[in-house]
């Protein structure tokens, strides 16, 4: 059987990868990104689509990379946490969150890259979400440390930062 390479653009860089050589047909996108490309920012926590820790952005939409096969990403554009600039409004807002009464936006930090990517995708589609919309949009991500109040505040503040920067992410 001959196989043809898949072409995936990850953080604006094109990768050509050969099934059966660079990865197995059953390899998930999460495993490919972490093990093959060394992008360990995303975390594999449940590996069954229940927690959101492995969230990346595929063609503008948040996807659970543990539920996408590497081969399914052929021809698509992927952004991982490593692909965001350090001054990205969502990252800045997560870092800064310490507003009295809400706690910080992370404790152990294992879920944080997933929450950040989900929030980025949300703000791309809805730059000024309400608190209720934030809560619905981020309800697929689990933070076992329970920093939900801080995370929601961070997303609202990211939205404000975004508006202050003229709306471009």
């Amino acid at each position: 059987m001959t196989s043809v390479p898949i072409r995936i653009t990850v953080n604006d860089r094109l990768h050509e990868l050969l099934p059966g050589h660079d990865f197995e047909v059953g390899t998930t996108l999460a495993a490919l990104l972490r093990e093959r490309l060394g992008l360990t920012g995303l975390k594999v926590s449940c590996d069954e689509g229940a927690c959101g820790a492995c969230t990346v952005i595929m063609d503008g939409k948040a996807v659970l990379s543990c539920m996408v096969l590497a081969i399914e990403a052929d021809g698509h554009r992927i952004t991982t946490i490593e692909g965001l600039p350090a001054d990205h409004p969502v990252i800045e807002a997560f870092v800064e969150q310490s507003e009295p009464g809400y706690g910080t936006a992370m404790q152990c930090g294992y879920c944080t890259p997933g929450f950040v990517m989900t929030a980025v995708a949300l703000l791309e589609q809805n730059p000024r979400p309400t608190l209720a919309e934030v809560r619905v949009s981020l309800s697929g991500n689990i933070c076992r440390c329970g920093c939900y109040a801080g995370i929601a505040q961070a997303v609202l503040h990211a939205s404000e930062k975004l508006a202050a920067r003229g709306g471009a992410l």
Partner: protein, 787 residues
């Protein structure tokens, strides 16, 4: 708009709202966890290991035929239970690998309960790691090889319920330790009736009011996002372990003593850990050892990581309590009695700490003024997932029944339960009422709207035709104050002042998310304020490496946030003295003639002259000034502060759904070291407690003994939509010893939520349900709407 906490003493750094020091690393995905440290890309000769899990709740391995597995391409080797270096390992338990301090094998807690074999042939629950470990080039191949092992199991009878396990004829799990499945009495926990004060029976007979109650807990699990992971590499006869254990020095001692290696031949590295919650032990001590043995056998580094299913590995002791309480008509409680039966699961671990040690502590710091008191507890082996040290160990269980007895008594006495608590509870150092407890409860009552929202049970207003609302609370002593940490032993910190005036802090503690690293940097800046340093001038590391780090302060008892800070406060004085000695000659003076403040060194008789610290040090021998200090915790018995959770719920009487509308959580901390972190602990603790109260539960198939929901689809952890608005309130009323006199907060934060929620449900619907978790079907049955 939330109300910020107001510190009792304004300090420059400690007590300030601010971002976490590790927030940037974490928000950018740059923080590295055990699983991120080693893969084929970074360590090309790495191999992956998988271990056999018992499919039976109780079984013994007669033999394993591993020829097919070994023949599978990509399989590198197998470590077996019957190899001499495996079979010859000492039996062990959690009593020395999951404690507050490094222990030797001989000095472990619970020495009578050495019930664990490393990769043994005897399985005691579905999921027990036994028999064989396979290493392969990929995880998938290792998993396939496990399936090719032909295991001849001797399937044995099993028992899941503690009540059934103590009946005559029940299958015995560890008969050499517990001939009737009941964990035998030992020194640390005491006898079955471990507290018997006054004359309980006489008090009950004489009292005008006596109430009885019972509660049934369950076995939630820590569910850390970061699955257990370790990598072991040998270089010659020297071993390095990278892992997400919460203890580095303790792990080093454990590896050294189990593998008979000099401590100098063992290096343990602990990076960031993705959540701990007491997931201390029940897996890692065995799997560190068998991973190490397999790596030595292969001569290659080996990585072992749990899947999510395998991460269901330990949890909370399921405890059932029955209790009685009596009071005079004026609300003076005259007697209380509590009887517990606790399900230890397959191994004893810290079950007796949960059932006896913790309640004894509560007696000392909450029930000190109840004249007649009796506690009995039995821990029982069963073939369920073992219970160990989950966040709030023992405290959650005892709070759940104590809060019920308070509510029952108050109702019978027609008293406000808040007044009943203030009238009766406190620690043995002070007369009642306790100031901390009173202020905590009155503050919580105000924040939740207790007076307006509390009503006779089931008599509140109805919303949307079928929904009833109610409020409830529960209180608990904070833990731990410094004197309660005596058993921790020495706490060590090291500070280095560089010639340019910058500082390196080595306050080693594994960063599991608690924020104690931020506390440490803030208190270092506070203690070294005379140098004029800010937190940004302080170098710190998230990686603990036993080759170079100070001894790490184990992330238990929520005490790390201030224990190392207290030592730093002392170490700073030593550093100051060394600095003045170093530069004295430059000032033609003795150290006693000099002072240093705001980053300037000057002669006391010429306060306006002088040099900056940097100028003085750079003019000297360019040698850093190092202070390394260890000190045992202060033992002055200062009592403890209190905390409480208040909850408002809405119960849909048509569907049985319980929705928590609002929570207020109040903690008297003594000193709030880092308010942003403390609030995160308060809020996060309610999220976890809410899950324990309403949704999280491990369900077993009774005929097969198999757990059915070892996944996060069916084991339901609260999400952002489930957690209501939470009002975190930080207070400084009580004060402990030392510079800060703080008290832990994180572990306790989870304690009160289930009882607060269930008392609120009773207030809403007027029917008591005292079995966790409170799922809709239980509500409907209680309301007479289902079977």
């Amino acid at each position: 708009m939330k109300t910020p906490f107001q510190p009792r003493i304004a300090r420059k750094h400690v007590g300030q709202y601010r971002p976490r020091i590790d927030a940037f690393e974490k928000a950018t995905g740059r923080a590295q966890y055990a699983d991120d440290l080693a893969n084929k890309r970074s360590m090309p000769d790495l191999c992956y290991a998988k271990v056999l899990h018992s499919p039976y709740p109780r079984a013994r391995i007669r033999s394993i035929d591993d020829r097919k597995a070994l023949a599978l391409p990509g399989v590198l080797g197998i470590l077996r239970y019957d190899e001499l270096e495996v079979a010859g390992l000492k039996p062990t338990n959690a009593g020395w690998t999951d404690g507050v301090d490094t222990r030797s094998y001989d000095a472990m807690d619970w020495p009578h309960y050495r019930d664990r074999r490393v990769l043994g042939d005897y399985a005691c629950w579905v999921g027990d790691e036994v028999g064989a470990m396979v290493a392969a080039e990929t995880e998938a191949i290792a998993e396939e090889a496990l399936r090719l092992l032909r295991v001849d199991w001797e399937v044995l009878p099993f028992v899941l319920d503690a009540e059934e396990a103590i009946l005559p004829g029940a299958p015995l799990l560890h008969p050499e330790i517990a001939p009737d499945n009941v964990l035998p009495d030992e020194e640390l926990g005491g006898p079955t009736r471990f507290i018997d004060r006054g004359d309980v029976e006489a008090a009950f007979a004489a009292a005008p009011v006596v109430v009885e109650g019972s509660s049934v807990g369950h076995n939630p699990t820590q569910a850390s996002l970061d699955p257990w992971c370790c990598v072991v590499e040998w270089r010659g006869d020297r071993l390095t372990l990278w892992s997400n254990s919460y203890a580095a020095d303790q792990s080093r001692m454990h590896l050294s003593q189990m593998l008979d290696l000099p401590i100098a031949k063992v290096r343990v590295v602990s990076p960031y850990v993705g959540g701990q919650f007491g997931r201390g032990d029940t897996g890692e001590q065995p799997f560190f050892i068998f991973t190490a043995l397999l790596a030595r056998k292969l001569g290659r580094p080996v990585k072992f990581k749990h899947t999510r299913r395998e991460s269901f590995h330990d949890g909370r002791q399921q405890a059932s309590y029955t209790a009685r309480a009596s009071a005079e008509n004026d609300g003076t409680i005259t007697a209380m009695e509590f009887k517990a039966i606790g399900n230890a699961g397959a191994y004893a671990d810290h079950t007796i700490a949960a059932l006896k040690t913790v309640p004894s502590e509560i007696v000392e710091v909450s029930l000190a003024h109840i004249p007649n008191l009796r506690f009995e507890a039995r821990g029982v082996y069963t073939n369920k997932m073992p219970a160990c040290m989950m966040r709030g160990i023992g405290n959650c269980q005892i709070n759940f029944i104590l809060g019920l007895m308070v509510d029952l008594l108050a109702e019978r006495l027609r008293m406000d339960p808040i007044e009943l608590v203030i009238k009766n509870f406190g620690h043995e150092w002070e007369a009642l009422p306790d100031k901390s407890l009173s202020i905590v409860l009155r503050t919580g009552a105000e924040r939740i709207g207790w007076q307006e929202r509390r009503h006779p049970p089931g008599r509140g207003p109805i919303f949307a035709r079928t929904r009833r609302r109610g409020v409830g609370f529960s209180f608990h002593p904070g833990w731990h104050a410094e004197w309660q940490e005596e058993r921790r032993g020495e706490v060590e910190v090291a500070m280095t002042l560089n010639p340019d005036g910058s500082v390196l802090l080595d306050a080693a503690t594994v960063e599991t998310g608690t924020g104690s690293n931020t506390c440490n940097v803030l208190s270092c800046a506070e203690a070294l304020d005379f140098l004029g340093v800010s937190p940004a001038d302080i170098g710190w590391t998230a990686i603990i490496d036993t080759d170079v780090s100070a001894k790490d302060c184990v992330q238990t008892d929520s005490a790390v946030a201030y224990l190392q800070s207290e030592v730093m406060a002392v170490a700073a004085g030593e550093l100051r003295q060394k600095l003045l000695e170093r530069v004295a000659a430059q000032f033609d003076a003795g150290p006693a003639d000099l002072d240093v403040a705001g980053g300037r060194i000057f002669r006391r008789d010429e306060p306006d002259a002088g040099k900056t610290v940097r100028e003085a040090l750079m003019a000297g021998p360019l040698l850093p000034i190092c202070v390394r200090l260890s000190r045992p915790p202060l033992t002055e018995r200062t009592g403890v502060p209190y905390m409480a959770t208040f909850a408002e719920v809405e119960v849909d009487t048509d569907t049985g759904r319980v929705q928590v509308l609002h929570m207020a959580v109040v903690n008297d901390c003594g000193t709030v070291m880092y308010p942003s972190g403390a609030e995160s602990q308060q809020i996060g603790g309610q999220a976890m407690g809410l899950g324990e109260a309403l949704t999280e539960e491990i369900v077993y198939d009774k005929p097969s003994g198999r757990p059915l929901n070892f996944n996060w689809i069916d084991y339901t952890i609260p999400t952002m939509l489930d957690v209501p608005d939470i009002d975190p309130v930080l207070l400084e009323v009580w004060r402990g010893g030392g510079e800060y006199g703080a008290c832990g907060i994180g572990e306790g934060a989870v304690t009160c939520a289930p009882r607060a929620i269930l008392n609120a449900v009773y207030n809403a619907i007027g029917v008591r349900i005292d079995e966790l978790p409170l799922k809709p079907e239980k509500v409907l049955v209680a309301l007479g709407k289902g079977r």
